[in-house]
């Protein structure tokens, strides 16, 4: 399907229904312009033609009270036109509400003044949570909408969709994003003092990248929880090492010097090793510090280690596609 172009001031139409909505817009616009021009032209013509000339004595006009045929004509024609507009508009409207089967589902929670988007991760029961909306291109997406405080409304101008979020009720909307890219999403129902700061981005990505994102993002969230309970006493997240241990800020992908003088790139393998057998390779400067206790499988499962690595990647500027080795599937 073609993207409807950015015409006049309407933003680019980047969803499957945008084309239809835009056509309706232009149809009504041209009809309105024609109607306005005809009516105004008649008025102006009459004003010039029948204007009383200065100094002219008021001659008698025609005492015309009505004309039934004319009145019927100018009632029937607009009636036909507006019903046509109704039918067209309503067909598109129902299209916006009938959600295709097999749509990817995302749960949206609005609150003063932020958005939270939750995705299911495979069949794992875990969820992937973000303040921005990530969706695959070319596939119907269904958003389940709810609000935790006041009314909000979700609007993605480029997709031509909008729906209110109501506390204690679930509403929904769907769209199919046509092309990869970034789009704006914002709240259009007045929701209080910081209404003008309630916005998010929509990232439309290829199917594979989306799946990877959901997976990685879920790891990040779980990884953070593990970090908070098991790692945060020694490892900081700020720039600059603490006294106890190397910081995780920008750690993934960094080249560290070890206590024996060799260097190592901090990637999955080294992190795995440092969690299971921390004493084997110690970063230079930390030999004399308190030793980190090893985490065998009984206290930290393989999956949990993956989550920690996912979380660390999120803290790093290191680009995944530059990585020489793939993370474990």
């Amino acid at each position: 399907m073609e993207l409807s172009p950015k015409t006049w001031f309407m933003p680019v139409g980047a969803s499957s229904i945008a084309g239809e909505v835009d056509w309706l817009f232009y149809f009504i616009t041209w009809m309105s312009v024609a109607f306005f021009v005809i009516v105004t032209a008649c008025t102006v013509y009459f004003l010039f033609k029948y204007k009383r000339k200065p100094g002219e004595k008021p001659g008698l006009t025609i005492p015309l009270h009505h004309n039934t045929v004319l009145e019927i004509v100018w009632t029937v024609i607009p009636t036909i036109l507006v019903f046509f507009i109704f039918i067209w508009g309503f067909r598109s409207f129902m299209g916006l509400f009938v959600i295709p089967a097999g749509a990817e589902e995302v749960r949206v929670q609005a609150a003063q003044w932020s958005w939270t988007f939750r995705h299911n991760v495979g069949g794992s029961g875990n969820e992937s949570k973000s303040n921005n909306l990530h969706v695959p291109a070319g596939r119907p997406i269904k958003l389940h909408l709810s609000s935790s405080d006041v009314l909000h409304s979700l609007f993605i101008p480029d997709f031509r969709v909008k729906m209110d979020l109501v506390p204690n009720r679930t509403t929904s909307l769907w769209f199919t994003a046509l092309e990869e890219g970034e789009y704006d999403l914002y709240c259009t129902e007045y929701c209080g003092e910081k209404h003008s700061r309630m916005l998010a981005r929509v990232y439309v990505m290829p199917e594979e990248e989306y799946k990877q994102w959901v997976w990685d993002n879920a790891k990040v969230a779980t990884g953070k929880e593990i970090y908070d309970t098991k790692c945060s006493a020694c490892h900081s997240l700020e720039a600059g090492n603490s006294e106890m241990a190397p910081t995780w800020h920008n750690l993934y992908g960094r080249t560290e010097t070890l206590s024996d003088g060799t260097t190592i790139e901090v990637l999955d393998d080294y992190i795995w090793e440092s969690i299971r057998y921390p004493h084997l390779k110690i970063v230079d400067g930390f030999e004399a510090r308190a030793r980190m206790a090893p985490f065998p499988k009984q206290s930290l499962s393989d999956e949990e280690v993956e989550n920690i690595i996912g979380f660390m990647k999120g803290l790093s500027d290191y680009k995944a596609d530059e990585a020489s080795e793939d993370p474990k599937p």
Binding site: Y50, L60, H66, V82, I85, F93, F97, K162, D164, C187
Partner: protein, 559 residues
């Protein structure tokens, strides 16, 4: 002949606590016009903020988000309830109804006086709310809960006294208009002069009666809704509180069940004014009197079943939307008919482009734009895109400004000689018209474009939205703001014209426009008690250019 003549009231009784419909009408009119300047000032402040975010505003200072929300809320509230209603309905209704039906005063003069003073009290309460701790209400003029109903967990933002006072002021005002409305109905139904049959009434009387009936039927649910809101705010009941089993959508239904008919309550009196003026200055009978009348009745009835078009995306059943979409689109047809009728009245007339005529014609041209853009919003798929954007803001300003300001000013210029007894300056009036028209279009056409570009409403500043900060959109916001300033400044001409004409304008004749309706048969200004003796009516209001007469008008009361 009238009990009014018995006692000579003093200054207070004559001009302040007067029971005379003309004084009360002028009180409503003047209060409304003064409130318009307050509403205009608020618009100036927030338009400056939108055009030049973060800058200090000349004549105000720096605006913070909460003040912005208060100003937007109060601008809407004041312009609809404290300008449009008192000027169009209460002002012109009081001035015109007893004179046009041919009687001495309203049916219940004391109730009428009470109506104005309750309205005055509501005005004091509303303006006073600016000065309470936390300032005036900031929940939007539509006051949607849960935001407007403080006390719910998670919404401790609007717990000021301002919100209570806002509800109180609106409720008081509706009480005032109900008292006035009863007078309008009883006077028109029971006190018409002999011979003033229903079909002979000037169309504006019909419009006023239908407007009042619409108001009276619609206002109950809103007052109920407002009381529940007040209870939620003060006693922490749970009518709209989801956590207590309430439903915030309920308020939207109650509000718009009133809110949409309200638009027609304002529109009808204004259309009446426009019809009268166009007929008089075309020297022709109003074209299609009956068609206009039936259209108006149809519109009045339809106006009760269009409200949910405000809620297409509020989570109502989409099948329900189909019904409201049909009715919304249908309601444009009666108004198209009225406009066609006005234009047909011009055909083969002998047209004089006086100031009132210019404002009446301007109102029609601008209202056309408001009307056709309503079709975009009635078309449900497009409404989803346009909802809560500046397209809607532009649309309703293109309906309300022609109706309230152009129609209202047309009426003021038209009847000024009658009720003040002096004539306004035509040149000043025409300059006022052209400046107002040009600046109005420059202020609000850009808002359609901004809305189409996706700019949403009630936003303090757009700096967080890169797509809305594009150069051409920023420029459009600034053009709109400059135009608003010109538009407000142009109203100084109106004030100057009115004040100078009031003090030393040329004395007006009884019937300066050679019009037919009864008010032009009495002195300018009409004396206390209006008619002596009572008039008798022999014909309809639009016998212009009747064949066989030397004059081209034929007053209703001329034998």
């Amino acid at each position: 002949m009238s009990t009014h003549h018995a006692a000579k009231p003093g200054f207070l009784g004559r001009y302040v606590f007067s029971t005379d419909h003309k004084v009360i009408g002028l009180q409503y009119l003047i209060t409304g016009v003064l409130m318009a300047f307050i509403g205009g000032y608020l618009a100036y402040v927030f338009r400056m903020q939108l055009a030049f975010p973060g800058n200090s505003i000349p004549g105000f200072g720096e605006l913070v988000p909460q003040q912005y929300n208060t100003f937007v809320t109060m601008h809407g509230t004041i312009m609809i309830f404290w300008v449009a209603m008192p000027v169009l309905l209460a002002g012109f209704g009081n001035l015109l109804i007893p004179l046009m039906v041919g009687t001495e005063d309203m049916a219940f003069p004391t109730l009428n006086m009470l109506s104005y003073w309750v309205f005055f009290l509501s005005t004091v309460v509303l303006l006073g709310s600016f000065f309470v701790p936390g300032s005036a209400f900031a929940g939007g003029w539509t006051a949607y809960p849960p935001l407007s109903a403080d006390g719910y967990v998670g919404t401790p933002f609007w717990d000021g006294l301002g919100g209570h006072l806002w509800i109180l002021a609106v409720a008081l005002e509706f009480v005032a208009f109900l008292m006035g409305g009863i007078n309008f109905l009883v006077t028109t139904i029971n006190m018409r002069a002999p011979g003033m049959k229903w079909r002979r009434m000037p169309i504006i009387l019909w419009m006023l009666v239908i407007a009042v009936l619409t108001f009276v039927f619609a206002v109950g649910p809103l007052i109920a809704g407002a009381v529940m809101l007040l209870l939620d705010r003060t006693l922490h009941t749970g009518f709209y509180n989801p956590a207590a089993g309430g439903d915030p959508i309920l308020f939207q239904h109650l509000f718009w069940f009133f809110g949409h008919p309200e638009v027609y309550v304002l529109l009808l009196p204004s259309l009446g004014i426009i019809c009268e003026i166009i007929s008089v200055f075309s020297r022709k009978p109003l074209f299609g009197y009956r068609a206009i009348l039936y259209s108006t009745i149809v519109a009045g009835v339809l106006s009760f079943v269009v409200w949910a078009h405000h809620q297409f995306i509020a989570g109502i059943d989409p099948r329900m939307s189909s019904f409201f979409s049909i009715t919304t689109i249908m309601i444009s047809i009666p108004f198209a008919i009225v406009i066609f009728a006005c234009i047909a009245t011009l055909w083969r007339g002998s047209i004089r482009l006086t100031t009132p005529m210019l404002f009446a014609l301007g109102a029609i041209a601008e209202f056309l734009i408001g009307g056709v853009t309503g079709i975009y919003l009635g078309s449900s798929a497009l409404d989803i895109y346009a909802h809560d954007t500046y397209f809607v803001v532009a649309h309703f300003h293109y309906t309300l400004i022609p109706v309230v300001f152009f129609g209202g000013l047309a009426g003021i210029y038209f009847w000024f000689p009658k009720f003040v007894g002096r004539t306004t300056n035509e040149l000043l009036g025409k300059v006022h018209f052209w400046l107002t028209t040009i600046s109005f279009n420059c202020a609000f056409l850009p808002l359609f474009i901004l809305g189409i570009a996706g700019q949403h409403r009630r936003v303090f500043d757009y700096s967080a939205f890169p797509s809305l900060m594009a150069g051409e959109l920023t420029m459009l916001r600034q053009i709109a703001t400059y135009a608003v300033i010109v538009m407000l400044a142009a109203q100084i001409l109106f004030v100057v014209n009115v004040v100078i004409s009031f003090l030393r304008g040329p004395k007006a004749e009884n019937n300066p426009w050679q019009a037919n309706t009864l008010e032009w048969s009495v002195a300018s200004p009409p004396p206390h008690g209006n008619f002596d003796p009572y008039p008798a009516v022999y014909r309809g209001a639009y016998e212009y250019s009747a064949p066989g007469r030397s004059e081209d008008w034929w007053p209703q009361d001329a034998p």
